[in-house]
Amino acid sequence: MNRNYEQEHDDDIDALLRQSFDGPVADAGFCDRVMQQLPPRRRRSTWPLAAGVLAGAVLCSLSVFTSPLWRAAWQGWLVGQWSTSALVMLSTMAAMSLLALGWTLAEAEDR
């Protein structure tokens, strides 16, 4: 009973506060003034991203191609054998691709 009274009184206060609020302000040329002040949009330069991707690819290639694992995998692949090295390399590449795909999808969802 007391709780209902409290709730009712809360609703009264809410209603009073809403009544005392004048609501949205009329435009009266405000929007036009803002649009006149708007600066040209800065395009985000793409070169840092491209340079990062290139540097990453070069470093990755250098570290992979000089490793004995890669050579063993490559030789096994050439003779048509599913060696452990070949399987490890293929699994790693597949995992990295899936990771990149997941990241891309998550970013696209955010947008």
């Binding site: 809360d10 929007c31 003034r33």
Partner: protein, 191 residues
């Protein structure tokens, strides 16, 4: 609820048009859709100083234009705008004379209960001024601007619990100060 979801989708598509196609007309539509509430929010925060509110609102939209690529859909676009507006207001308070006025408001928190007056709205306005700045701000956002507690917490950068506490305390104080009106209204209804 469905209306607000539809409004949010329209905002999102307008934002996407600005970001992907550098579409100024889409941004103009966003300004037209939200300027009224952003200016009302700032006008209330500045105690009715409409000119200052318009200056801050303009600054808010220019900031939104510059930072639009930072808008993630974790909040509605309108909520994001209100957050920028509130941050601009706080920034202005740090540098301008409004801060002094707010300090006075805080000092008025413990003033005696106002005597019953003829006009309920006048009494409400007086009672609101006697609330602390934080309570006034929370009630403005939660009740008058119609935000949820979560949204108000996002806009005001306050913990959710603090927002709820200020809302409850503010309403309790208003209830006490305006209880004479409630009693008078009950007496009038009894034959």
């Amino acid at each position: 609820m469905a209306d607000s979801a539809a409004e949010a989708r329209i905002d999102q598509s307008l934002v996407a048009r600005v970001l992907l196609g550098d579409d100024r007309r889409a941004f103009e539509q966003l300004v037209r859709r939200h300027q009224g509430m952003v200016r009302a929010q700032l006008c209330r925060l500045l105690h009715g100083d409409q000119a200052a509110a318009d200056d801050l609102a303009q600054e808010t939209f220019l900031l939104a234009w510059r930072k639009l690529d930072q808008f993630r859909s974790e909040a509605r676009f309108s909520t994001w705008l209100h957050r920028i507006a509130y941050a601009s207001f706080l920034q202005a308070c740090r540098t301008k004379s409004w801060a002094a006025r707010h300090a006075q408001d805080d000092a008025m928190e413990h003033l005696p209960e106002p005597a019953p007056a003829m006009d309920l709205q006048v009494d409400l306005a007086r009672a609101m001024r006697h609330l602390s700045t934080a309570e006034q701000t929370v009630l403005l956002h939660c009740v008058q601007l119609g935000m949820s507690h979560d949204e108000a917490a996002y806009v005001l950068a306050m913990p959710l619990g603090t927002v709820k506490t200020h809302a409850t305390r503010g309403k309790a104080k208003l209830k006490t100060w305006l209880s004479a009106w409630k009693a008078a209204a009950s007496e009038e209804t009894v034959p």
